[in-house]
Symmetry: C2
Subunit: 299 residues, 2 copies
């Protein structure tokens, strides 16, 4: 949970709530309650943002508030292709002290999404849970592959599902082909792998099986910030609401996650996620059905 | 119809049959006969390649053979990402004299695919046909947008379907967003637009409708040469065999074209296309069905 300053070809915002856990919680809360949030914020984190999350069934007991520091702050600028961005400012602030403590009331959580932080912290969260969740999913990034590969590899043996983008999958595996990369990564631990490709959709791998989810072709990607975390939140929220961790159900969950991400990019930060209704979401999912549905008779 | 020399990260070939019309004919011949080929070759074009095409129902009456010149020759080198390539040699040879003449026996052809050549030649082919085909599709490239835009724009008013890649769609329309690019291009003439995105699949646009076809995630793209032309050939062959030019049927035709392209890249040049059977094709199409198929219950 953080604040961002974002510039895109379509506009600019100086200070807007963000952070992986914020996006994921907004997306997941459309499908499941409660969401047991674990994060850390500073004295600048607005009460109204806390209240908005609480009203959506997000439990904030696991969110540490540090009185004498500021929240994590990121500032970046996107270019026309929206797949590349320049980071202008990264102020770690409270994140330097982050040592997640799982509240007793969170014990028994069945679905765990580990956002992108130092793998040692992700490991700590898994180890604090007395009962192993039905599904442990994780995100990570290139930075940890460069700086904390041993911890990352240890964590990979503890999780069921890794979600990364294509360049991260290539770096982690050392393979250019995403099919070969997937095979190598699944040998490292996770039985399921999602490779996110932004505007080109996402791939789900499990054993020899593969599923391709398209991204919705959009007239304008206004601000891609948080799209990946929104995808993860939609995915996990749907899985948790169905309590079905099969490959077949994950295919549907990827479509749900993609639908949520397609809303996220329509406005700055999580603004669009704050206003959409369940009817909006169902209509968007119907668009995804139409997008990929075809008939063929084989001889 | 041409010869190529191709280098990829996986190997090298010095002289292999190629050319858009060759790839398209191999792909289409799995679905429809005869294929009325229009092209030009030199004295180096091998009789065995002609015989192979004839045996598949490709009519070569419209292929001019120039006795004192060589066939078009292209040499290129691909890098690891396979989306970019360096052209090493382009010898136009017979292509400098290309002035397609439609044989009388081709009159009445119902489905026309205009390969990527000078738009003035594409216009000439359309004008030579006494009866307008049920479907006129065309390919083009950036080069003609830079050097022959007026002819290209005239041609666009004469065709039903344009097939281009994403960067070509952006250049032609001046729009970065592919949704906006599609809308702008459809205003130029074609009621249908296919945007090819290589390993990321293809998009079909018609009015406000859009369909996304995935590419098959492959362990190895051995040689991408001809994949786009093979896609076009598979698409047109399927459309011609069903004689149905509706948006719904084009969706299926895109899957068929994508399946054909997924074979093409498995070996050098058209080698893989020469050996596959109808059973191979049906199995591959089934993989595409599995690749995108998901269940969802909406409330």
């Amino acid at each position: 949970m953080a604040y961002d300053a974002i510039e895109t070809p379509f506009g600019k915002t100086d200070w807007i709530v963000g952070g992986a856990a914020t996006y994921a919680a907004y997306a997941a809360s459309n499908f499941i309650k409660p969401i047991n949030q674990v994060s850390i914020v500073g004295n600048d984190f607005e009460q109204k943002e806390m209240d908005l999350l609480k009203a959506r069934g997000v439990n904030l007991e696991g969110v540490e508030v540090v009185k004498d520091k500021k929240s994590f702050f990121w500032s970046g600028k996107y270019h026309m292709d929206m797949n590349t961005r320049d980071t202008l400012v990264t102020d770690l602030n409270v994140l330097l002290d982050f040592n997640p403590v799982i509240p007793e009331s969170y014990q028994g959580s069945e679905f765990l999404m580990l956002g992108n932080v130092n793998p040692s912290l992700q490991i700590s969260v898994v180890q604090q849970l007395k009962q192993r969740p039905k599904l442990i999913a994780m995100d990570t990034m290139n930075f940890w592959m460069d700086s904390a590969l041993d911890d990352l590899k240890k964590l990979l043996t503890m999780v069921d599902l890794l979600m990364v983008n294509d360049s991260e999958a290539r770096q982690l595996s050392g393979e250019y082909s995403l099919v070969k990369a997937a095979r190598a990564i699944m040998k490292m631990g996770p039985k399921y792998l999602i490779i996110k490709k932004g505007e080109h959709g996402a791939l789900l791998f499990h054993g020899d099986k593969v599923f391709v989810a398209p991204a919705l072709p959009l007239e304008e990607v206004f601000d891609p910030t948080g799209a990946g975390d929104t995808f993860a939140g939609g995915f996990m929220g749907y899985i948790a609401s169905t309590r079905d961790v099969s490959f077949e159900n994950m295919k549907t969950a990827i479509i749900v996650g993609s639908a949520m991400a397609s809303f996220c990019v329509e406005k700055f930060g999580p603004n669009r996620l704050k206003e959409i209704t369940r009817a909006d979401i169902d209509n968007r999912i119907r668009q995804f059905v139409d997008l990929v549905n075809f008939d063929i008779q084989l001889v």
